[in-house]
Symmetry: C2
Subunit: 229 residues, 2 copies
Amino acid sequence: MARGAERHNARPRAPLTRERVLRAAIDLADREGLEALSMRRLGQQLSVEAMSLYNHVANKADLLLGIADLAGSEIYLPSTVDDWRAEMRRRAISARDVFSHHPWVSGLLEAQTDPPIPATLRQHNAVIGCLRAGGFSMAATAHAFSLLDCYIYGWASQEATLPFETDDEVGELAAASLAQLPRDEYPHIAEMITEHTMKPGYSYADEFEFGLDLILDGLDNLRDGASAS
Amino acid sequence: MARGAERHNARPRAPLTRERVLRAAIDLADREGLEALSMRRLGQQLSVEAMSLYNHVANKADLLLGIADLAGSEIYLPSTVDDWRAEMRRRAISARDVFSHHPWVSGLLEAQTDPPIPATLRQHNAVIGCLRAGGFSMAATAHAFSLLDCYIYGWASQEATLPFETDDEVGELAAASLAQLPRDEYPHIAEMITEHTMKPGYSYADEFEFGLDLILDGLDNLRDGASAS
DNA sequence: ACCTGAACACCGTTCAAGT
DNA sequence: ACCTGAACACCGTTCAAGT
């Protein structure tokens, strides 16, 4: 067994690159949360001292920007050719999916960076272009843009705080939180849980498309030449 | 000048209480941001060693829960007597105002804690009660609740990332970001800035009530006995 | 009962030194 | 060119010791 210098770790050689550092950081954040992503812990994952990472990443802010851009680029980019409603709908649902796979992404994309994150700029540009092509005035585009992004990012942060991961768990968890709840102090919450949330057919995830469609319906009235309600 | 033991600080005696600790923490977070709020820095503000704080606060998580509850309690609590639309509107605008005075609050209120933050429970209970009294079914109440909170919290996190604080600064800042923007790569963003954002009358803050009213209009159709559109 | 000093196990980051 | 060890200035928190 001549192993020589590369003896102390199973995967010794593959040289560090920015790409490899960012991928490992995404893995770590997905598995253990963003707060577990420290330079030292990330170094361990790559069988390297923390200081080596600084050869591929300027600092921690650059690392976070890098993973936000990489994961943010997975979100569907709307085009100007199809109808605006289908495109905005598809983009919103894609963002919801990406944010639910990587719960740390939405927060990082919202963080103010200088320069701005390319994935965000591409999204902004594509959304504005799609709405303009769909018949929205400049002012209406600004309205629609702000409303949609508030909803999408708001959903992401609400979802990230949910105590359950799948709809199967909703029932038992609702029962558990109901047991701890001072029912006389919060009667309306108690009623909501017993008569709605705990019922079999309930799915919190369905709320997303409901709200999204309500917003899209409302925005439709804003377009040039839209029939007044 | 007989000053004796209390010589090394201007405000020496007022004994530490949980209230005083929380107030000082809110001040510090407002002035320098949540990331500046460490136990050691907070101790300094109160002319006390960091370890003394643990006599009034279980740990840092408890401190954060405490300031979230205190600031969150400033948000208007909707009643069941007035009409649902006015109440929901007033509550949303109040939340927007509180979140804009204390940009760190919305994030803390969204954080999952066990037990839940009382201010949040009171809000949830009041909102559900108001909507139910306003003629919303259980399912419609869940829809409305989710949509409104996504929008309100989404707005807060979008606003927290804005690079400007007042509407006066919008113009110059838009010009500055336009100068750095690769215009051929992001033509629609460039157009939006030059032809809308940079124009004198534009106010990002106005977008909040626009989106809010669009959502309230949509929700109005959900009520029992609402006229079908 | 409340406050403190020293200590522990962590952070991000710099810098001189190694290969 | 890339990686490392030691060091610095920070964290939250525990614990024995002071008053």
